[in-house]
Symmetry: C2
Subunit: 359 residues, 2 copies
């Protein structure tokens, strides 16, 4: 199932020309104009035949969620970063998708292989964005296993390929990004002035067994894994070292906006109880409000969206559909149905996404 | 540091008579009448010299948070279930405290010792409630390590001692209550028609290391441990077996109200992806809304309170201060400061607590 890069791009581009319905595109354009905002969704997954094959090889040929969602009916949608996806966006009312390689990215591969596949994936994505420059934007796939080379690849992705940031799927070999071996990557992201999206994956080894609750491994387990990662970054002093670094969390911040005041309160209580001086310059919530933004991926629901807006402010919440894990049309309709001021909705769908990712 | 039961009660009662300020009590009564609701707080901790000594012994004589908060300046407050506590309630504007033994209860002790200390603690608490029947109510301390004997002790606690329910501090020896060895306890609680408060403690062994984030072990670690426990109960079919069982979660439901719609969505998605038929009769959120209520302990903050109210409805949120872990006065003032309809505030402080605990 190996397809050369050229053949892959050529075939998707050809399919694009054949399938692309001009009329629908015009309709979407008209609808978008009547709105006064575009709908930009910023946690939208794709895959490639090569990374899919490698995930399957590592899983012993068995499709397994453990090695990423390489099973299931949505593989076709994942692999399509051409006309089929554009058609779906038109139908569902999404103007721009910010694309990223599906979890767990290349993070489960051997370092050299991970780096080489990351470059391949980044080239593929750049071609797709080039084919549809007003409809797609890209986030760099990175191989944290090879930090020095990843810094170079990040510079290529931002300066040459025009990507808007990078995405890392939580832990790499059980390690979070507070581990200083990864700090060159964080330093590069700050220097490049682009955000890092930290996306969920299966939890670190310790968390894995208790969180393997039938039916809740994603809804709860992913949130715990990624929220834990975010708090390790704060506790590890990452934002004292890199004060301009911007982290994007999906799923409305993996529950953390619900907890901000309590996190501050108990942080101070733990410091007092153990007669410790805080190793941090600021309160936990200050880092969370200044160094993080959250997207609505998989969480386009009224109660948590309003809580995130109240906890973080109207400039910190960005729309995402989480396609194709979620039904894109439902995500759009659910967000549109939430009772919010018109200017807040414009910020969520459009202004905030453009500002954070410089789209 | 061993004090006989009689001496303990006598000394606290004597201190009560000496310290109790009649004037302040009258003032509190007048204030409470001008309100149109009482303030009943329902996750309020106490301790006893004997359980404290046993926790310290197990910790090798070293005060350690790991074996419960046996260090720190709040021991005096924890041990006072007499006049000093009442005086504080008057000053802080709390009418009734629903008392429970501080985490981790007797759950880290050997079974026979745990059972015997649970009985002692329950007797002590019954005496305190008897001394201040309009100001205190009690939750039974239980020893899940001894399920059969615990069923008998629960019957005594409810029928003879007049307690309003029971409290268990999350896991016992790394096991959650979905383990069928504990089901006789759940069956008894349903039969007795009283709720079970599931309170946090240090996480199960697997979760412990990744969640030991400096400064976030309580704010995040406790929520993950207890939320994980709650979802194990749902996934384990506990509420199909005991459909009338009522679970109380503190800290506004340990983030779960923020996630209800996503939990349903991803639950169904996981079933579809793996071609599984759900082993449950209902959707996860239906159990959560029907078999759970949440309290505001440590979470008397606007954004999450409003989210919990929207997600669960106005009848499912109950006031708690989390004394003496939290500053009781702050908890009252923070909840009073949240902009909510007057009838909702009355429900949270009073009506909901009375209904759930039959106070």
């Amino acid at each position: 199932m190996s397809i050369s890069k050229r053949t892959f791009i050529k075939s998707t581009a050809a399919a694009g020309l054949a399938l692309y319905a001009k009329g629908e595109s015009d309709a979407a354009e008209a609808q978008s104009k009547s709105r006064n905002y575009k709908r930009i969704s910023c946690e939208e997954a794709f895959s490639t035949p090569e990374t899919t094959a490698e995930l399957r090889r590592l899983a012993g040929g068995v499709p397994s969620m453990k090695s990423g969602p390489i099973a299931g009916s949505f593989m076709t949608n994942l692999l399509d970063i051409g006309a089929g996806r554009i058609k779906g966006m038109d139908e569902d009312g999404v103007d721009i998708q910010l694309l990223s390689l599906v979890s767990p990215g290349v993070q489960t591969f051997e370092p050299a292989n991970a780096l080489s596949l990351a470059k391949l994936v980044n080239d593929r994505l750049a071609d797709a964005v080039k084919a549809y420059p007003t409809r797609f934007a890209g986030l760099a796939t990175v191989a944290p296993q090879a930090p020095a080379e990843t810094v170079k690849e990040l510079e290529r992705c931002i300066h040459t390929l025009g990507f808007k940031g990078a995405l890392i799927n939580s832990h790499t070999n059980g390690e979070y990004l507070d581990n200083k071996k990864y700090w060159p990557i964080l330093e590069a992201l700050q220097a490049l002035n682009v955000p890092l999206y930290i996306h969920p994956r299966d939890p670190v080894p310790g968390l894995e067994a208790p969180l393997a609750i039938p039916g809740f491994a994603v809804g709860w387990g992913y949130a715990v894994e990624t929220g834990t990662h975010a708090l390790h970054l704060i506790a590890g002093g990452v934002f004292d070292q890199f004060p301009k670094l911007q982290i994007v969390l999906g799923h409305l911040g993996e529950t953390l906006p619900f907890l901000l005041d309590r996190l501050d309160n108990r942080f101070q209580w733990q410091m007092n109880t153990f007669n410790m001086k805080s190793p941090l310059k600021r309160k936990p919530s200050e880092y969370f409000r200044d160094n993080f933004v959250v997207t609505t991926s998989g969480m386009n629901y009224s109660a948590p969206v309003k809580a995130a807006l109240e906890a973080m402010g109207p400039d910190k919440v960005l729309f995402a559909a989480d396609y194709p894990m979620e039904v894109q049309k439902d995500a759009v309709e659910e967000m549109e149905a939430i009772k919010l001021p018109a200017e807040t909705k414009k910020k969520i769908f459009d202004t905030n996404v453009r500002r954070v990712f410089r789209i």
